[in-house]
Amino acid sequence: MSREERKPLNPMLIYLLRRMCFLLATFFVFMIIIFSLPRMIPGNPLAILLRDILNRMTLQPETIKEIERKLFEQYGLDKPVYIQFVDFVSRIFKGDLGISFYFRIPVAEVIFSRIPWTLMLLVPSTIVSWIIGNFLGAIAAYKRGKATDNILMSIFLTLSQVPYYWLAMILLFIFAVRYEIFPLGGTWDTSRFITPSLTLEFITDYLAHYILPFASIVLSAIGGWAIGMRVMAIYELGSDYVVYSDSLGLKDSKILEYVFRNSILPQITGLALNFGSVVGGQLLTELVFNYRGMGRILYDSINKLDYPLIEGIFIILISTLLIANLIVDFIYAYLDPRVRTGYAEA
C-alpha cells in the first residue's frame, strides 16, 4: 500500500530535482563567466583599474599604494586561480559583493537601495501585461482568419518590435512635454519630499511619476504575450480533443476553457524565459524616465567602469532569474498533470 502512495509523488520530485541541478550548474557557469571576464582584459587588470581610478581622482602616493594593496586583496591575485575562484564564490554567498569604485560604499548597499523601486515597477507591469496579452491572444486565436484577428495581429506585431525605451521616449514626450499631464520623470518630486514616506501625498505623487513608466512597459510587453498565446491556442483549437468534445455536444465556452487551460501552461514557463528581456527592457525604460531603480546605476556603472558594481548588479539579476525559473517550474509541475506523473520532458 505504501508503494502505491509513494508513486505519484516521485516523478514530480525527480523532475524538480533535475531542474534544480540544472539551474545550479547554470549559476556555476555564470559565476565562472563573471569571475573570468575582468581577468580576461588584456594586460594587468589591476593596472588598468588603477589607471581608471587615477583618471578620476588625484591621489597621494600613499593612498595609491593603499588602493593597490586593497585591490590586490580583493581580487586575490597572489593566489592560484582556483583558490581565487573559491574565495570569490564564498564571498558572494556571504553577501559581500565588493565595494563600488564610484560610490565608495558596498555594492550590496547601492543595489539594495534601488531594488525595491525596480520591483515595484517590474512585478505589477509583468502581471498586468501577461494577463491582458494572453487574453487578447486567445481572442485573436478564436477569431483566427477574420478581420478582428488580422487587426489585432498587426497591432501585436508592431508593438512587440517597438523597443521598450523608445516607447518610453515617445510617451514621455507626448504626455509630459507636449501635454504636461505627467511629471518629467524621476521617481518622486524631490523638491517636495526628501525621502519616501507612507503619507498619502507622497503616494499620490509617486503614482503620478509611476504611471508613464508602467504604461510604457505594459504596452511594450503585451504584444509578445499575445502572439505567443495566439499560436498556442490556434494549435490547440485544431486538436483531436477539441473536435471530439465538440462532437459530444460540449458548448463552445467549455471547449474554450479547455483550450485556454492547455495553452496557458507554456505561457507560464514563458514568464521565466522572458525574464531577461523584460528586465533588460525595464532597466532601459527606467533610464529614460530617470526612475530611481537599477537602470540608472547600471548605466552609470558601465559608463564609469565601476566593475564591482557591474558584477554585483548582474549577480543579483541572474540569481533572481534562476530562482524565478525554479518557482515557475514548481508552478508548472503543479498545474500540468502530465509532469506530475512523469510524462512530459523537462
Partner: protein, 276 residues
C-alpha cells in the same frame, strides 16, 4: 488575401531600407558627419531636413549612416548566430547520444542566461567598441534558441526514408546534413534569418542605449542616436527630431522582418492561417 499583402509590404519596406542604406549616404548632397555641422538644437528646416542635435550633428546624415551601421551589425551577428546555431543543432540532433547530451547541456545553459544581459555584461568589459566587436558579442549570445529548434527538426527528419537511403549509400554525417536535411528546413532557416536580423538590430540598439554598445564618439548607429538623444535630454527638452526618426526606422525595419517571418511561417503552416 491578407497574407500576401503582408509579405509584399514587408519585402518592399526592407528593399527600400537596404537601398537607402547603400546609396543614401553617397547620394545625399549635404552629407556632413562632423560635430557642429550646424547650429545645435535646431528643429527640421530646409538646410537640415531632420534638424540638429545638441552637438550640432546633422540628424539626417547620421540617420543614413546609422541605418548602414545597424544593418551591418545585424547581418554580421546573424551570420555568426546562424552558423553556430545550425552547426550545434544539426550535429547534436544528428549524432545523438553523448554528443547530443553535452551540446544540449551547453546550449541550455547559455539559453537560460538571458542573451541581453549576457551581452551587456560581456560588452561592458570590451575595450574596443567597434561595430564588428559588438556584432560578435551579439552573435555569440543569440544562437541557443536556433540550435534547439534545428536539433528538433533534424531529429524528426533523420528518420525519414530519404535519409536512411543516404546513410545506406555511405554518405558521411555532414554530407547528409548538408545535402538532405538542411534543404528540407529551408523555410525554417529563412524565417530564422529574418528573426535573427530583427533581434540583433534591437540588441545593438539596447546595448548602445545602456552604454555597452558601439562607441558613440566614433560611429553612429540607430541605437547610438537614441543614446545621444537620451543623454542630451532631447526628450525632456522637446527635441523630438533627435529620437523619433531613428526609432521609427528601427521599428519599421524590425516589424517588416517579423512580418516577413510570420508570412513565411503561415505559408508553410496553413493551420496558422485559420479557418480550419
Amino acid at each position: 488575401m491578407f497574407k500576401i499583402k503582408k509579405f509584399t509590404f514587408s519585402i518592399s519596406v526592407l528593399v527600400v531600407v537596404i537601398l537607402v542604406a547603400l546609396v543614401g549616404p553617397p547620394l545625399y548632397p549635404k552629407l556632413n558627419l562632423s560635430l557642429y555641422a550646424g547650429t545645435p538644437d535646431t528643429p527640421p528646416s530646409n538646410e537640415f531636413p531632420l534638424g540638429t542635435d545638441r552637438n550640432g550633428r546633422d540628424i539626417l546624415s547620421h540617420l543614413l549612416i546609422g541605418i548602414r551601421t545597424s544593418l551591418y551589425v545585424g547581418v554580421i551577428a546573424t551570420i555568426i548566430a546562424l552558423t553556430i546555431g545550425i552547426l550545434v543543432g544539426s550535429f547534436a540532433g544528428f549524432k545523438g547520444g553523448v554528443i547530443d547530451e553535452i551540446l544540449m547541456m551547453i546550449t541550455n545553459i547559455i539559453y537560460t542566461l538571458p542573451a541581453i544581459l549576457l551581452m551587456i555584461l560581456i560588452a561592458s568589459y570590451l575595450k574596443e567598441r567597434s561595430p564588428l566587436f559588438v556584432s560578435i558579442v551579439i552573435g555569440v549570445t543569440s544562437w541557443p534558441w536556433l540550435a534547439r529548434a534545428v536539433r528538433a527538426q533534424i531529429m524528426s527528419l533523420k528518420e525519414r526514408e530519404f535519409v536512411q537511403m543516404s546513410k545506406m549509400s555511405g554518405l558521411k554525417g555532414y554530407e547528409i546534413i548538408f545535402k538532405d536535411l538542411l534543404p528540407n528546413m529551408a523555410s525554417y532557416i529563412f524565417m530564422s534569418v529574418a528573426l535573427l536580423l530583427s533581434i540583433s538590430m534591437l540588441a545593438e540598439a539596447g546595448l548602445s542605449m545602456i552604454g555597452a554598445g558601439i562607441d558613440p564618439s566614433t560611429e553612429s548607429s540607430l541605437g547610438v542616436m537614441l543614446q545621444r538623444a537620451q543623454q542630451g535630454e532631447a526628450i525632456r527638452l522637446g527635441r523630438w527630431w533627435c529620437f523619433v526618426p531613428p526609432g521609427i526606422v528601427l521599428v519599421l525595419i524590425t516589424t517588416s522582418l517579423l512580418m516577413l517571418s510570420t508570412s513565411i511561417d503561415e505559408y508553410f503552416n496553413p493551420r496558422l492561417r485559420g479557418g480550419k
